[in-house]
Symmetry: C2
Subunit: 590 residues, 2 copies
């Protein structure tokens, strides 16, 4: 390759006068402060050279990077930091329990230590962590098992819990405490550790055997600068939503005042096992494919395509290779394929029709359990849920489900019981948390990604966009233009995917891929139509209820009149009255 | 420390049935697929154990992380990727030139290679990069000289240019080409390299001596999947705004059609040298301070406070140590200070009044040069600029400046020349890029951070918020509630800081710290008031112009009449007419 013609074609006006800098670059160390007289600028200037600059360059550890940029991980304010830390710990516990096939039972406790500091304790009954791994799992950023595989899990990056510990260390100077036990006949181990941020590696202060009555599990304690308050983006709310999204989980929460809540599990059935899948050919970039060609153990191109990708069989492989051009055959040796050939292969893949990836790797909550969760945790008059079939964005399978809870008990509506009878409302039972808001408020949008509640950055999230872009007026709701609908309603939207496309590492909002947005809107429409029927029915119901109440008053009198006319016994009369009431109910058109 | 009481106080319902998992954890390798009969779930489940999970855990390289999450760095779409790559390369060139005291001259060229791929070439006249560093600078993420120091520079993280190369490699499979020369008598070197993403280190394909007529500089070429189009967030716009923000820069740009533009420098004066400062005590977290206490070479606490922080003298140090409590003295040995003492010290620092950090480390563009830049690159009727004094957020000094260009030439307004006379507008000169929009459009907000234009995520940016929160109606502009004002106007806001708080690594938006928002609004108000005067004056001017035009018609006739009455010569008459015209101009009240 020859050097290019320079791009400059003007005379470099400023340059000749600055030759000195280049000369200096020829050897001297530039830490010397020798100021040279300069013609154009007034003050003498300490000049750097290529050499002096090279001396200052060094590697930045990923821990240092994220300490300085901790807002990227969700540790930007004491309020949010507390939530993020709890979330990361609970995510890890749930993932571990599910992977080990253990029905999860998790306890979260917050203790206030000083005015500004709290201790967070999260304990699970998971499989535990073996002692040689504890340091790395809690004391090293970018360390984990989930980054390289395509399967649905809460954690993805191997950053979260270590970052929480790093934040604790940064704000209180205190190490993280970990207690773990991998089996009944194994001793528990207790670790005190911090992160050596300059090197991104754990610094273990102590590692000792300890007594723990549990048969297996992990407990992590982090002390940190934090702020605790109730509300829509509080730890309380996260805990409640986690319980809805994970019906197989029993969750205990103790808030800083010592108040305890337990969310008992709704089902003893574990979520279906999520299977790791291979990448879909349509979602793989050229550079990534070149790397795969190099790394594969397959000895033929055809084998490579079938082995390393999902949905490629002998026939599809043949079609791809054929359309990639003459220089490639099914027997081409993968690691010897040149860049140009690889590029042709990549184009051929994009041009070949390949069936969508298998969606068995996705484990949605399911309509039934989502509905049960909503009914248990959200007090409302009407519930509906829908799970869409799985779809694909950029080669990644995903699945959307939506649940709606509508109507504030004690508020506007009347309620029917399961037999279709109008039920008297138990108005005494007040909702403790306002997940279903007031009639004149914007609806609440509860966002879940792989069963994890998302509490921040709602407006940047595809879920929020999906709700706004749905026409709720057609379902009888009020909705200002370009805004969320208004009414006593909570909408839960769950996206399950092998790779949730978050807009930032703090995993707060989902990127608006068109495919995702479309599925969200379709799922909302399914629920919306049922909601519309209910809302309209509610309005009719109200009218009929008024009428019927009037008629019902007279049924006993009609009974007495019939008794006299037809000479009925008292039993016959009462039976007739019952029959009349039944007829009245059945005559309802809805 | 003793193990805690377990947080569980309910019987763990699901757990006993899952004991098997814990047993299994006692020794066997879990890759075995042996399915055990389970009482509660239907299908047999492959269970992971602490051991099998440990085997899957591994380190994730920061390159892999950012390849998968490349949207975090601004490489989410082909359109944005091109802009981001150019920006990163130009940022690096400018930083290097300024550090070396060289008046920068940079050439950017885009070449279309295929339908979907472009080659980006950026060449500077900077100090060059020595050959042992080239690999790391371009082939390793998180490597650089600017991360650890507090000084104003464009680059901060040591990610940008390597990430651009990584994106090119991922999408085209092609390596990055670098040409560099550190001095006239040194040979140029040519490198072809890619990034080994699994290890985050450079993979050098070739490194050879090359011929290059330049005396010093660096040229980088990256081929990547990209999309080129004109518009408000285009490379063209970035180039233009870079020229405005860097009046000492000569910038050549060749677009993919081969069209060339040159933005010649406005000044030969380099921006004032930015000095590295020490952290301000009020901006340092406890954990960071503990690390500093460990690392310092100072042998006394008093010395440590004075050496490692800015704005701490013997007196302030004394006050801090005194208020930190009895166990600490001025002579305490820093590395022997216990955590509890450090915590008391940290509290004492927060409670002590310490003067704000030195703001000499900030180099704003300056009102004069900003104004000159606006006048040169933006065609408008009225220009105003203001630079605020430096302020501080979280211990970091920053400075805000604002420039406004108002009025579309050939559009609404009339114009006065410097002597206050009404000038005829040159309506032929059309503006090539619509930086000053139409009268019925939202104004354009041009955001600059450390002289780098920000083109994405405007709505998430503190600058945008500052503009929206300013009441422009009082300055005679239209402004819908909660929105940007409407009118033919461009507002440039520049934040210069030793550490710009970006909301993401892609450096697109500035976090809304209250101090920053306040300064932005104050600067906008200064310019706004002058704009208001101009707009009101413009309205009066229009009225008076109509009147005066009418009077001016008659002045020659008055001259002739006076000549007749007073017997003036022609010269005397002309003089009188001139005097009358002068009197008329001076009689204007504004």
């Amino acid at each position: 390759m020859t050097p290019p013609n320079t791009l400059f074609d003007l005379e470099p006006e400023g340059v000749p006068k600055k030759k000195a800098a280049a000369k200096k670059a020829a050897g001297k160390k530039a830490a010397t402060k020798k100021a040279e007289p300069k013609p154009k600028t007034a003050a003498p200037r300490r000049r750097a050279t290529a050499q002096s600059m090279a001396q200052k360059q060094r590697e930045i550890s990923v821990s240092e990077f994220f300490t300085k940029n901790r807002h990227l991980l969700g540790f930007d304010s004491p309020l949010k930091a507390l939530l993020t830390a709890v979330k990361e710990a609970v995510d890890n516990s749930l993932d571990a329990c599910e992977e080990a096939g253990i029905l999860p039972e998790i306890a979260v406790e917050l203790q206030q230590k000083t005015e500004k500091t709290f201790r967070m304790c999260v304990e699970d009954n998971g499989p535990g962590i073996i002692d040689t791994q504890i340091g790395k799992v809690f004391g090293k950023l970018l360390y984990g098992s989930k980054f390289h595989k395509l399967s649905q899990s809460r954690g993805q990056q191997g950053i979260g819990i270590s970052a929480a510990g790093m934040y604790g260390q940064l704000t209180t100077g205190k190490p993280v405490r970990i207690l773990s036990k991998t089996g009944k006949r194994k001793p528990a181990v207790e670790f005190m550790l911090s992160i050596d941020t300059a090197k991104n590696r754990p610094e273990i202060h102590s590692a000792e055997e300890a007594q723990w009555e549990k048969s297996h599990g992990t407990r992590v304690e982090i002390e940190m600068e934090a702020k605790y308050q109730k509300g829509l983006r509080s730890v309380d709310m996260y805990i409640k939503q986690t319980a809805i999204a994970n019906p197989h989980l029993t969750l205990h929460f103790t808030d800083p005042t010592g108040e305890k809540v337990t969310y008992a599990r709704n089902t003893k059935e574990m979520p279906p096992e999520t299977i790791e899948i291979k990448p879909h050919p349509h979602g793989v970039e050229l550079g990534r494919m070149i790397a795969m060609l190099k790394d594969t153990s397959c000895r033929s191109l055809s084998g490579f395509l079938q082995e390393e990708f999902s949905r490629v069989g002998p026939k599809v492989a043949k079609t791809i290779i054929k359309s990639a051009g003459k220089s490639l055959t099914e027997k081409s040796y993968p690691s010897r394929i040149a860049r140009e050939e690889a590029s042709a292969l990549h184009t051929a893949i994009q041009d070949t029709k390949i069936s969508s990836p298998s969606t068995e790797c996705i484990a949605p909550i399911g309509e039934e359990l989502l509905l049960a969760g909503l009914k248990k945790e959200l007090e409302a008059d009407f519930y509906v849920a829908a799970t869409r079939p799985a779809a694909v964005y950029r080669g990644n399978p995903f699945q959307i489900e939506v649940g709606i809870a509508y109507g504030k008990p004690g508020g506007v509506g009347l309620e029917m019981n399961d037999e279709g009878r109008i039920k008297k409302k138990d108005k005494a039972k007040a909702s403790t948390e306002d997940l279903v808001g007031a009639a004149d408020e914007q609806i609440r949008v509860l966002r879940l990604a792989n069963r994890v509640p998302l509490l921040y950055q709602q407006s940047a999230c595809a879920i929020n966009k999906g709700v706004i872009q749905t026409n709720w007026r057609q379902y009888g709701m009020n909705q200002p233009r370009g805004g969320l609908p208004v009414g006593p309603m909570a909408v839960v939207v769950h996206i399950a995917s092998v790779w949730v496309p978050f807009t930032s590492e703090s995993k707060e909002a989902i990127a608006s891929y068109p495919e995702i947005l479309k599925e969200i809107k379709l799922a909302l429409q399914i629920c919306g139509r049922k909601l519309g029927t209910y809302i309209r029915k509610g309005k009719r119901l109200k009218r009929e209820f008024d009428k019927r109440e009037y008629i019902e008053k007279y049924i006993p009198h009609i009974g007495i009149a019939l008794q006299e006319i037809m000479g009925l016994t008292n039993t016959e009369r009462d039976k007739t009255v019952d029959t009349l009431e039944d007829v009245l109910h059945k005559s309802r058109k809805f």
